[in-house]
């Protein structure tokens, strides 16, 4: 069996977000090889009318049932209620979605307010995660796979205007200012 087939099986049984390197360790192959196969699996599954999708959130991957089929899926499992988002939560999530991974000072700067409490709140709800990056002094914040699953997107790049808002020149400028 090919590596791609093995990755397909691992994603299927794992049923949770997996880091590229974790898949690589299970197959005893390099991260690069895994990534190439994952791209192929995305092409295989993420097309209209597919009942299964491959989600990507940064370096994490998860196999899920298509978000379009939520209703019928809920006949066979406990439904997850999304719950309301307040305006500040929504705004913070949006900035983290488009600009993540992002540090707290950068986020504060963009929103013009201290986002500490809201970030804590969003982490408790499992929508945002904090990563202690080796290369950074400050922790960075990113959205979680759970959030992506509830938006019904396969990847954040599907958000409208993602490329433009993600690589906004002012964000680079703000980061330098700090």
């Amino acid at each position: 069996m090919s590596n791609q087939s093995k990755i397909e099986s691992v994603l299927f049984v794992a049923s949770k977000p997996l880091l590229t390197k974790k898949i690589a360790a299970a197959l005893k192959i390099s991260d690069q090889e895994v990534l190439a196969d994952l791209k192929n699996l995305q092409l295989k599954y993420n097309n209209p009318d597919s009942g299964i999708a491959i989600l990507q959130n940064g370096d994490e991957w998860q196999m899920v049932a298509s978000a379009e089929n939520t209703d019928v899926s809920e006949n066979f499992l406990k439904s997850e209620v999304s719950g309301e988002l307040t305006k500040p939560q929504l705004e913070t999530l949006t900035v983290v979605s488009y600009c993540g991974p992002i540090t707290k000072p950068e986020l504060d700067q963009i929103r013009g307010v201290n986002c500490g409490l809201i970030l804590r709140n969003l982490m408790l709800r499992g929508l945002v995660k904090e990563t202690e990056d080796d290369g950074h002094i400050l922790p960075v914040y990113e959205i979680t796979m759970d959030y992506l699953r509830h938006l019904g997107l396969n990847s954040l790049t599907e958000l409208p205007n993602y490329a433009e808002l993600h690589n906004h020149p002012y964000i680079a400028g703000l980061a330098k200012e700090e």
Partner: protein, 234 residues
Amino acid sequence: MSTELKLEKFEGPLDLLLQLVDQEKLSITEIALAKVTEQFFSYLDKLEENRSEELADFLTVAVRLVYLKSHHLLQYALPKEEDTGPGLADQLKLYKQYVDASKTVNNLWGENKVAYGRTEPPVKNEEFTLPINAAADNLHKSMVFLVNRLKPLEPLPKVTIDHSISVKQKIDSIRHLLKNGRELSFNNLLAAAQNKTEIIVSFLAILELVKEKSINFKQTNSFADLLVTKNLHV
């Protein structure tokens, strides 16, 4: 009257600015920001009473606003500084883009389309194995690390709030000083300033009053003390 925005209707200084500009039906430019500066300041009073913990965030923007406005008033005296990073108007435009984008996110979220995972029946180990990094010592280290992370941050914000209020009071006190006395030395005013923000605020507060024509400046030579006098003709 539609001019009064409810205090609880905005999330932060940028949100307030955006709503003020929007209310005046202006597009986001430095001129538009200069126009709504007065209104912005009127909200600081209410904020001081009700949401003092947020005052610091608002003052950061307030200082930049008054700087912008003074630059607007005294273009010849204050050459535009270069390379100071994105301007306030640019920052607000950027903020607006994310506010707009958050509507899309809200729609996606509200559709309740959830991509579900599955649950593979668990594989259980036949016998208990102790993970190599779960000894008592590992637990202890991890607990000490956690407790340090949970150290409350309260003392710092308290100082910030006090400081924010003192800056706000500075603006009020200049107005008050001028109400009672006739003349005021700018050097004396700045002597009490504790940091750059206070100096800037003091200076800008004065510029603000000049613009309102409530005060005049007197200076005998280029580097002499600036005397601030009350305009008696008003």
